[in-house]
């Protein structure tokens, strides 16, 4: 099992985590007109890169959602970033 680092809890077994999405997708403003192509891209298009990837993960143990940068071939974890600045 891999070790992922939750920004709050620290390093934990990968089974405590769940993949959420590729990082970088912004939800279109659906109160305005959104084209079929834009909406389809938001729903379905993935970059699916080989190598460095930036992903949104959830640490389901504490529910923290964060960004993890990984290498999709070597499985190395490159960086873990909280969505928000530390408050304390």
């Amino acid at each position: 099992m891999q070790i992922f680092t939750c920004p709050f809890c620290g390093p934990r077994d990968e089974r405590e985590f769940h993949f959420v999405a590729e990082q970088g997708k912004v939800r279109p403003d659906t109160t305005q007109s959104v084209s079929d192509a834009d909406w389809a891209a938001y729903l379905h298009t993935q970059r699916n890169e080989k190598g460095r990837v930036r992903e949104v993960w959830m640490h389901t143990t504490c529910d923290e959602v964060f960004v993890m940068e990984r290498h999709s071939v070597s499985m190395e974890v490159l960086a873990t970033t909280a969505l928000r600045k530390e408050s304390t």
Binding site: I3, D36, S74
Partner: protein, 933 residues
């Protein structure tokens, strides 16, 4: 003592004799023997029959590289199949039986199969047995092949213990290099764990007369002492079977015979691979005969077990390291005949007993042929971790190349075959110094298999793959190493090509006339040796494999004779009573319509959403409008996915300006919580919204039916239950013996219904009071099955049963938000897509059958008539309604909502029936009973 057992020498204890049997014959060995060493000591040669051709076989090697000596072993009533005789420690009373042979390995009646070898070559299923239909032959073929039978008795207590651990340095291999590396690392202050798969450490060290001027046993003991003194840990009889991501190593620690290994999930910052090397096969005529063995295997038998492989020995070798072993065998009294495999064309003579070796020019009478075509570093774990291999021409072997992160190889595993340089290299690595591979003294002549001979030459002993099979694979263009492997099955047996990979590559290289490294290598995958499946799950089995959640009221349900079953992850009452379920379920559903039913609704989700942005947040998460709810109100709603699919349904209660309770489906609680948290943190201000899952803090007792008000009124809760004061879809708080009870007037049944939630520690008290009050009005507990009928009579859906992966809210008849809600919500844009607007979408309808007909089958398909029928939907729920006296059913049918009144054909398992589409509500469509005054 037989003449194959030396009077002294080896690690065995000659004062502890051990009795055992093999194929019914009694033999004796000693403590410290393996099954194989004891059999060899007794002069037993034939130990099994090969997989395909049933050729008599003996041992090749002394440890895990053994491809032939596989046995079923029994001890004290425990029976284990597929034991490798070379790694099974001998125990008193053991009974070993050869596999794939009847009545014994020595006299196997299927030995005649070998005569048909020309029709049993690689790919023979598809060639010899393709006509008329190969399936006809398959059962017989499978019965004839195979290794070992599994006893039908599951071994009691055969459970793998599993434990996590970590260390700074994990040293894999307790031979000379591994030992000194571990000592150096431990003495430099590192937390070290050393693992070795033998019961006794020392690896190949016992094959030397002296190590650093000590006898090997004394030297090994000194290393062990130094290691433990420096705080190092040792795991003997433990195989490192795989390296996984982020420095995780799987270790299987063997226990007493018949017990499952212990799994260590060992996390190591650094792995030192000292796994040693294997002897390399040589391909020559009849090289699979009993008596043909690995040269270094013979050295091990002598060094560890004091057993001579033979008396008159031919040594086939192409390299200088063979000399040391040959000398030791000579010193032990063997007569040696050297044979050069490069210049000669060797051929073994003898079937069950080796008689001679023909070099092409002469025939030498010998009883044993010892073979070494080179030394192959064991690089499996290196490759698991993604390390690269380099080809070395001098060694004619693959050696570790570019290292994976956190791993370094030492000793023979690194191609450092000479002892002193290996010790120096290992000490440096253990102390974390940068080292380069020292030069190797080996002088080796490249050996190329001779193609096109008439006699067969074996490549893979366990799967009976010969050089002819390789030649044929090449002729049929299966030349890539991946195709070669899978077409011939070379390297795919339980020994995973330990002796056959290099031979196979050399053969394909010869066939294609290229250098060996150009053929390539296949992927090394864990486990390094066969590991029982039990090891991977351990105590996660039986009731603990997928434990159900338990209700606070379980004891009450059991006492009331409830039939309990898993439903949505919880153990819940399906109905109450023993015997025929149908009658109980029908009676409960009828009673709930006539008087009242009492249901344990505790698993219902109770997720509180609080904060100044809670209202806006839920308004976004829900399809329905939440903004307009007032405190005390309950609203039914859907949660959609961004694809517009209905993900969950449930009710939301507004407790206050900044406080809501989301009552989602019991099976979706974790999913809904995660869904809320993901959106809360990524897209909203999490400082203004908080999600508390309190589902299990509260138990819920539900009372449904015309008598519900009377029943609840008798509990003394001091709440005005009149319709005017307490309308449908509102809630109140009351006190029950000093504890808060939240009473929600919300209905799953279509009847007057109250859901009472109280803290779980008070559940039994409330339940007892409700059941007692129920007796006065003719009400009693009902289970899930009855509940399913009640809600179906009313047309209330169950997500995932009456909806599927394409169902959108307007398919269920709920289209107001889609048309009118202006605020954004999850899934909104998807409801406007082309697919979402199609007229032929499957929509929810009721399905009625003719009077007296049986209920439709759930899952039955509605089909078009005439021509080639296709499915236009299916029955999602179907029951016999005891209250209405006829079947009720719902389904998702294409364009169904616009086809009310039409008759359709319903097909199931060859049977056709007709049904009429109707509104999906068979009970109280006007809602009079629901809003009961």
């Amino acid at each position: 003592m037989t003449s194959f057992r030396m009077p002294t020498g080896g690690l065995i204890d000659r004062t502890q004799p051990i009795s055992f049997t093999f194929d019914g014959t009694a033999y004796q060995g000693f403590a410290g023997d393996t099954l194989a060493s004891a059999l060899l000591a007794n002069g037993v040669r034939v130990m099994g029959r090969s997989f395909k051709y049933h050729r008599p076989r003996s041992v090749w090697g002394a440890w895990v590289d053994e491809p032939n000596a596989i046995m079923t072993v029994s001890l004290d009533g425990r029976d284990l199949p597929n034991c490798l005789a070379t790694t099974t420690p001998l125990e008193d009373g053991m009974q070993a039986r050869s596999v794939n042979a009847w009545p014994s390995a020595q006299f196997d009646i299927k030995g005649g199969l070998d005569l048909f070898h020309r029709w049993l070559a690689a790919g023979f299923y598809y060639k010899t047995f393709i006509w008329p239909d190969w399936h006809l032959f398959e059962p017989s073929i499978r019965r004839m092949a195979g290794l070992g039978a599994v006893s039908h008795d599951v071994l009691d207590g055969y459970m793998s213990d599993q434990i996590h651990d970590r260390c700074d340095v994990l040293v894999v291999g307790g031979g000379p290099a591994g030992l000194v590396a571990a000592v150096a690392a431990a003495q430099s202050g590192q937390q070290v764990v050393l693992v070795d798969d033998h019961p006794t450490l020392g690896g190949s060290g016992y094959q030397y007369d002296r190590i650093e001027d000590m006898d090997p046993q004394g030297w090994v003991a000194a290393q062990v002492q130094a290691l433990t003194a420096a705080g190092g840990r040792l795991l003997r009889g433990t195989t490192a079977f795989g390296v996984y991501d982020h420095g995780l190593v799987g270790l299987a620690e063997a226990g007493p015979f018949g017990t499952a290994p212990r799994l260590w999930r060992m996390r190591a910052d650094r792995i030192i691979l000292a796994s040693g090397a294997l002897d390399r096969q040589i391909t020559f005529a009849n090289n699979d005969r009993p008596g043909v063995m690995s040269l270094f295997g013979a050295a091990e038998y002598l060094a560890r077990y004091g057993v001579m492989a033979g008396r008159d020995i031919a040594v086939l070798s192409n390299h200088s390291f063979a000399d040391r072993v040959t000398q030791r065998l000579t010193d032990a009294g063997a007569r040696i005949v050297p044979v050069d495999p490069v210049t000669d064309t060797p051929r073994v003579i003898g079937v069950k007993t080796l008689k001679a070796i023909d070099t092409g020019t002469r025939t030498h009478p010998v009883d044993t042929v010892l073979v070494s075509g080179g030394v192959t570093p064991l690089v499996h774990l290196w490759r698991h971790a993604g390390g690269k291999l380099d080809w070395c021409d001098q060694r004619q072997a693959f050696v570790p190349g570019a290292a994976p992160k956190g791993m370094v190889a030492v000793g023979a595993a690194n191609g450092t075959f000479d002892l002193e340089p290996a010790l120096e290299e290992a000490r440096g690595v253990g102390a974390a110094e940068t080292t380069t591979r020292p030069s190797c003294s080996i002088k080796l002549t490249r050996l190329v298999p001779k193609l096109g001979t008439t006699a067969r030459q074996w490549i893979d002993l366990q799967h009976d793959v010969t050089l002819k099979d390789i030649e044929m694979a090449a002729r049929e263009n299966y030349v890539s190493v991946e195709h070669l492997k899978r077409y011939t099955t070379l390297g795919m047996a339980s020994d995973q090509g330990k002796t056959s990979n290099m031979a196979g590559l050399a053969a394909m290289a010869a066939v294609q006339d290229v250098a060996l490294p150009e053929v390539g290598t296949t992927t090394f995958r864990p486990p390094f040796v066969p590991i029982p499946l039990e090891t991977y799950h351990g105590r996660i089995s039986g009731e603990l494999r997928n434990p159900v959640k338990r209700l606070p009221l379980e004891a009450r349900h059991r006492a009331a004779d409830a039939a309990l079953c898993e439903y949505g992850g919880w153990l819940r009452p399906g109905w109450y009573g023993s015997g025929d379920p149908k009658q109980h379920i029908q009676a409960e559903a009828k009673m709930a319509r006539e008087t009242a039913g009492i249901l344990d609704g505790s698993p219902l989700g109770k997720i509180e959403v609080m904060g100044p942005d809670a209202e806006a947040f839920l308004n976004f998460v829900y399809y329905n409008t939440i903004r307009t709810m007032k405190p005390g109100q309950i609203r039914y709603g859907f949660m959609l996915t961004e694809g517009g699919i209905v993900y969950d349904d449930g009710v939301v209660s507004r407790v206050g300006q900044n406080r809501f309770i989301v009552s989602c489906s019991s099976s979706h609680v974790d999913g809904v919580r995660a869904h809320l948290e993901a959106w809360r943190q990524d897209g909203n201000d999490p400082d203004r919204i908080f999600v508390h899952d309190l589902t299990q803090h509260w138990a819920t007792v539900t009372v449904t039916g015309p008598k519900a008000r009377d029943l609840v009124g008798a509990l003394g809760l001091e709440v005005d239950l009149s319709a005017a004061a307490f309308p449908h879809m509102t809630f109140r708080e009351a006190r029950f013996h000093g504890h808060t009870v939240r009473i929600a007037r919300v209905s799953f049944s279509g009847d007057l219904c109250y859901e009472m939630s109280i803290r779980a520690s008070q559940a039994e008290r409330l339940w007892d009071a409700v059941v007692a009050a129920g007796q006065a009005v003719g009400a009693a507990p009902i289970g899930i099955e009855a509940m399913s009928i009640l809600r179906a009579e009313k047309g209330y859906i169950i997500i995932g049963k009456d909806t599927d992966g394409e169902t959108m809210p307007h398919d269920l008849g709920v289209s107001a938000p889609r048309d009118r809600k202006t605020a954004a919500y999850i899934g909104d844009r998807s409801l406007q897509s082309e697919t979402a607007q199609e007229a032929c979408r499957k929509t929810l309808v009721g399905l009625a059958v003719a009077e007296g007909d049986a209920p439709l089958v759930t899952g039955a398909h509605a089909i078009t008539t005439g021509g080639s029928p296709r499915s236009v939907g299916y029955v999602t729920s179907s029951y016999f309604s005891p209250f209405l006296g006829h079947p009720v059913a719902m389904g998702l049918i294409e364009g169904g909502a616009a086809r009310i009144g039409e008759t359709i054909e319903v097909w199931h398992d060859g049977e056709r029936r007709t049904a009429t589409l109707c509104a999906p509500c068979f009970y109280d469509p006007d809602g009079g009973r629901l809003h009961a005054g």
